[in-house]
C-alpha cells in the first residue's frame, strides 16, 4: 500500500502537460491594463471615492440605528465595479446580490435615493420597502439588489436571454461573490448561457470570504475563473484592486460577448475591509491581514498615485474629496429627514393589476 504513490510517481513525467499546448477552442485575449486619459482616471477616482465615503456614512448611520436589518458594505472592492461599469453602454444591464450600494451608484442612481432606501423612507428608490439588499431601478437598467445568494446569477442569465431575444445589443453584467459561486443554480445557468450563447458577463467578486469562510475552506477549486471550464465558458482572473486592470478586463469581456461568442467569467480578486455585514465582528481573519491589504493594495490610494504621476496636485484631489463628502453628507441628511412611507403604502405594489 505504502508503495503505491511512489509507483505512480515514476509515471508522472509522461503525463506532464505540454507547457505551450494550444487551447482546444477559441479563448479571449489576455486583457491589457486600460490606458485611461487623465480625465477618465479622475472620474474613476471620484466614483471610487463616492462609494467609499457613501459606505462609510452608511456604516455610521447603521451604528446610530438609522439603518436597520442587514447592511453589506462595499468598502475595499470599489475598483471592481468602477472599472467594469465604466465600460458599459446604456444598452447594458446590471444585476448583483445584496452588497449592492456601489453598483447602484455607478448606474447613475442618485446617492440620496439609495441612502433614503437604507433608512427606509418613502423617498427611497424602493419607497422604503426593499431596504439595503433589495433595490432596483428599471430606469437605470439596474435589476437588483437580490437577497438570496446566487439568485442573481440565474436572473442575470435571464436578462441576457432577454437582450438576445430582443436583439437589442445589450449585455448583462451579473455580479456574484465567491460564496455564491458554489451554488447549484450558478452551474445550471452557466450551462444554459453557453448552450444558448447568451450575452452575459459573470463577474465573480472574490473578496476571499463568504461570510466567515475563506475561499479555500469552501471551494474545492479555488481558482474561480476556471469554474466555467466544464461548460466551455472561458474565464479570466483579474486584479480587482486595480481599476485599470478591471477596466481592461471589461473591454476584453465585452468584446467577446458582443461578438456573439457567449458568456464569459471574470474572477475579480478583491478584498472587503469591513465584516460581511454590519453585524459581523470579522473574527475569522486577523486585523493585520486587513491592515496589510489597506496599506499595500488599496484601490483608491493606487488610483491617487496614478493621478499624482500624471501631475494632479494635492489641491485638486482635496477639492474632489470635499465635493464627494458634500454629496454624501447631503444624501445622509436627506435620508435622515425624509418622511417614512405612509402606512397605506403597506398595501401597494403587492400586485400590479386589480382582480
Amino acid at each position: 500500500m505504502a508503495k503505491a504513490p511512489a509507483a505512480r510517481k515514476t509515471e508522472a513525467p509522461q503525463s506532464d502537460p505540454a507547457p505551450n499546448r494550444a487551447p482546444n477552442r477559441e479563448r479571449p485575449g489576455e486583457p491589457q491594463s486600460y490606458r485611461a486619459s487623465k480625465d477618465e482616471l479622475l472620474e474613476f477616482y471620484k466614483q471610487m471615492l463616492l462609494i467609499r465615503r457613501f459606505e462609510e456614512k452608511a456604516g455610521q448611520l447603521y451604528g446610530l440605528g438609522l439603518i436597520g436589518g442587514f447592511c453589506h458594505l462595499y468598502i475595499g472592492q470599489e475598483a471592481v465595479a468602477v472599472g467594469l461599469q465604466s465600460a458599459l453602454s446604456d444598452k447594458d444591464s446590471v444585476i448583483t446580490g445584496y452588497r449592492d450600494h456601489g453598483h447602484m451608484l455607478l448606474c447613475g442612481i442618485p446617492p440620496k435615493d439609495v441612502m433614503a432606501e437604507l433608512t427606509g423612507r418613502q423617498a427611497g428608490i424602493s419607497k422604503g420597502k426593499g431596504g439595503s439588499m433589495h433595490m432596483f431601478s428599471v430606469e437605470h437598467k439596474f435589476y437588483g439588489g437580490h437577497g438570496i445568494v446566487g439568485a442573481q446569477v440565474s436572473l442575470g442569465t435571464g436578462l441576457g436571454f432577454a437582450h438576445k431575444y430582443r436583439q437589442d445589443g445589450g449585455v448583462c453584467l451579473a455580479y456574484f461573490g465567491d460564496g455564491a459561486s458554489n451554488q447549484g443554480q450558478v452551474y445550471e445557468s452557466f450551462n444554459m448561457a453557453e448552450l444558448w450563447k447568451l450575452p452575459v458577463i459573470y463577474v465573480i467578486e472574490n473578496n476571499q470570504y463568504a461570510m466567515g469562510t475563506s475561499v479555500n475552506r469552501a471551494s474545492s477549486e479555488d481558482q474561480l475563473y476556471r469554474r466555467g471550464e466544464s461548460f466551455r465558458i472561458p474565464g479570466i482572473q483579474v486584479d480587482g484592486m486595480d481599476v485599470l486592470a478591471s477596466r481592461g478586463a471589461a473591454e476584453e469581456a465585452l468584446a467577446w460577448v458582443r461578438a456573439g461568442k457567449g458568456p464569459i467569467i471574470l474572477e475579480m480578486k478583491t478584498y472587503r475591509y469591513r465584516g460581511h455585514s454590519m453585524s459581523d465582528p470579522a473574527k475569522y481573519r486577523s486585523r493585520e491581514e486587513v491592515q496589510a491589504v489597506r496599506d499595500k493594495s488599496d484601490p483608491i490610494e493606487h488610483c491617487k498615485k496614478l493621478l499624482e504621476d500624471q501631475g494632479v496636485g494635492e489641491a485638486e484631489l482635496k477639492t474632489i474629496e470635499q465635493e464627494i463628502r458634500k454629496i454624501v453628507a447631503e444624501a445622509a441628511d436627506f435620508a435622515e429627514s425624509a418622511p417614512e412611507p405612509e402606512p397605506a403604502e403597506l398595501y401597494t405594489d403587492v400586485l400590479v393589476e386589480k382582480y
Binding site: 419607497k127 422604503g128 438570496i148 435571464g158 436578462l159 443554480q185 401597494t348 403587492v350 382582480y355
Partner: protein
C-alpha cells in the same frame, strides 16, 4: 394455451388508445423484443414489443382501430404446435365494441359486458381513476362569461391550454415558452404540441433538466421585459425552483416600490396522478396561494383552462397556473369564440342548490358535481362552487352561496392541514358566521404521503363518496 396479447397501457393514466399499425401479420414468428405494433394515444406513439416467442395466431383488432381499451386482447401468440383455430376465443367481439365505444359512455372497465376475466392489473379501481371518472361531469349552470347562443365545440383540456398559448404568442411576440421537452418532444404531456412548428426554436425553448436554473432564467427574462411561460414537467419538480417563484418573482414588484414587473406564467401539472407515488402526487395550490404577490389559478374544465391561461399570460403579475394531469385528456365543451379570456379571481357556480354548498377547485370539482348528483337522489340539493383562482380568492362568491344555503363543505384534492379548505373555513368564520347553521367541514385527502398500492391510494384520495358522507354530517 395460446398467449393473449393485450392492449398495453403506455402511461399510468391511459385507459384506451389507437392501434395504429400492425407490423406483423398472422402466421409470422416473433421473438421477444420484436416490434409487433404501433400504439397511439393523444399523448404519445409507442412501439409495442413482443415479450414471448411464438407465432402470431389471430389478429383480433384491426389496425386503425380507435378507443381500444387497455387490456383488450388484440392478438394471440401461438406456442409451438398450437393452431390459430384453438386461439379464436370469445373476446373477438370486443374489437368492435372497443372501437366504437363513445367516450362519453365510459364505464369502469371491469364492468364492461364483454370484458375478459378481469385480471388486468390496470383495471384495479384506483383512487386516481375515481378522480378521473368523475371529471366527466359538466357544469349544469352556464357560464355567464359565455354569451347566450354561443356555439360550443368539444376539445381536450390539453388542446385548450395549447390554443391559449398559441393565440397569445401570435398576438404578442414577447411571449415565449420554455421548459423541459416543450419543443422537439412536443411536451412531456403534449401540452405544447405544435408550438415549435409554428413559432420556431427562438420562442419554444427546450431547457436542460435544471428547474432552479431555468425558473430563474425565465424570471430574469420577465424582469427584462419579456413574457415567459415556464413549463414545469410537473409542479413536483418546481420544488427545486420554488425560491425563484417566491423570492424572485412574487416579491420583486413590492420590494422595488412598484417599479420592477415580473409578468411570468409558471405552469404544469399539479396534484395526484395515477399510481405515481408520494413524490409525484402533490397539490401545491395551498403552498403558492399563501404567498402575497402571486396569482394562483387551478382550473377544472377546458373552457376555464383556456380563458384563464390567456388572462394569466396577459396580466402584469406573476402567475402560478396549476393544471391537472388526469384532466389533460378529458374532453369538455368550450365556446367557439375568437378571444375567450376569463377574469382572474372569479369563482363560478357549477350547479345551483339550496341545501348546502360544496366548494372545490381543479379536479375536485368533478367529484363535487358527482357527489351533488348522488345527494340529489337522496333529496339533498347541493350547490357547487368552483373557485378557479386560489389567489386572489373569490370570497364574495363563497359567502354569497353560504348566505343562500347556510351550510358549507370544502372538498379538496390535497391535504386538509393548512389548505385552501382551511382558508375557506376561516373566511366563513370571520365573515359569514351569522349565516352558518352548521360548522363548515373539510373533506380532503388523508393526512399521509400518497401511497403507491392501488387500494391504499384509493383510500388516501378524495372521493365523491367521502364528500357525500361529509355533507350528510351537516345537512
Amino acid at each position: 394455451m395460446p398467449i393473449e396479447i393485450k392492449m398495453p397501457a403506455l402511461s399510468p393514466t391511459m385507459e384506451e388508445g389507437t392501434l395504429a399499425k400492425w407490423l406483423v401479420k398472422e402466421g409470422d414468428t416473433v421473438k421477444s423484443g420484436d416490434i409487433m405494433a404501433e400504439i397511439e394515444t393523444d399523448k404519445a406513439t409507442m412501439e409495442f414489443e413482443a415479450v414471448d416467442e411464438g407465432t402470431i395466431g389471430k389478429i383480433m383488432i384491426a389496425e386503425g382501430s380507435d378507443n381500444v381499451k387497455v387490456g383488450t386482447v388484440i392478438a394471440t401468440l401461438l406456442e409451438e404446435g398450437e393452431s390459430a383455430d384453438t386461439a379464436a376465443a370469445a373476446p373477438a367481439e370486443r374489437s368492435g365494441e372497443g372501437a366504437n365505444a363513445a367516450p362519453k359512455e365510459e364505464q369502469p372497465a371491469d364492468k364492461a359486458p364483454n370484458a375478459p376475466e378481469s385480471t388486468v392489473p390496470h383495471k384495479v379501481e384506483t383512487g386516481a381513476r375515481q378522480l378521473y371518472d368523475a371529471a366527466k361531469h359538466d357544469a349544469e349552470v352556464s357560464d355567464p362569461a359565455i354569451p347566450e347562443g354561443t356555439e360550443m365545440v368539444k376539445i381536450t383540456l390539453r388542446e385548450a391550454l395549447r390554443d391559449a398559448m398559441a393565440e397569445e404568442m401570435r398576438k404578442d411576440d414577447r411571449v415565449f415558452v420554455m421548459g423541459e421537452e416543450v419543443a422537439e418532444y412536443q411536451g412531456a404531456y403534449k401540452v405544447t404540441q405544435g408550438l415549435l412548428d409554428e413559432f420556431g426554436p427562438a420562442r419554444v425553448i427546450d431547457t436542460p433538466i435544471t428547474e432552479y436554473g431555468f425558473a430563474g432564467v425565465g424570471t430574469g427574462a420577465a424582469m427584462g421585459g419579456l413574457r415567459p411561460i415556464v413549463e414545469f414537467m410537473t409542479f413536483n419538480f418546481a420544488m427545486q425552483a420554488i425560491d425563484h417563484i417566491i423570492n424572485s418573482a412574487a416579491k420583486t414588484n413590492y420590494m422595488s416600490g412598484g417599479q420592477m414587473r415580473c409578468p411570468i406564467v409558471f405552469r404544469g401539472p399539479n396534484g395526484a396522478a395515477s399510481r405515481v407515488g408520494a413524490q409525484h402526487s402533490q397539490n401545491y395550490g395551498p403552498w403558492y396561494a399563501s404567498v402575497p404577490g402571486l396569482i394562483v389559478i387551478a382550473p377544472y374544465d377546458a373552457a376555464d383552462a383556456k380563458g384563464l391561461m390567456k388572462a394569466a399570460i396577459r396580466t402584469e403579475d406573476p402567475v402560478v397556473f396549476l393544471e391537472n394531469e388526469l384532466l389533460y385528456g378529458r374532453t369538455f365543451e368550450i365556446p367557439a369564440l375568437d378571444d375567450y379570456v376569463l377574469p382572474i379571481g372569479k369563482a363560478r357556480t357549477m350547479r345551483e342548490g339550496k341545501d348546502v354548498t360544496i366548494v372545490s377547485y381543479s379536479i375536485g370539482v368533478g367529484l363535487a358535481l358527482e357527489a351533488a348528483e348522488k345527494l340529489a337522489e337522496e333529496g339533498i340539493d347541493a350547490e357547487v362552487i368552483d373557485l378557479r383562482t386560489l389567489r386572489p380568492l373569490d370570497k364574495a362568491a363563497v359567502l354569497k352561496s353560504l348566505k343562500k344555503t347556510n351550510r358549507l363543505v370544502v372538498a379538496e384534492e390535497g391535504w386538509a392541514t393548512c389548505s385552501i379548505a382551511s382558508e375557506i373555513v376561516a373566511i366563513c368564520m370571520e365573515e359569514g358566521f351569522d349565516d352558518l347553521d352548521a360548522p363548515v367541514l373539510r373533506v380532503a385527502n388523508e393526512d399521509v404521503p400518497l401511497p403507491y398500492a392501488a387500494n391504499l391510494e384509493k383510500l388516501a384520495l378524495l372521493s365523491s363518496a367521502k364528500i357525500v358522507d361529509t355533507v350528510k354530517k351537516i345537512v
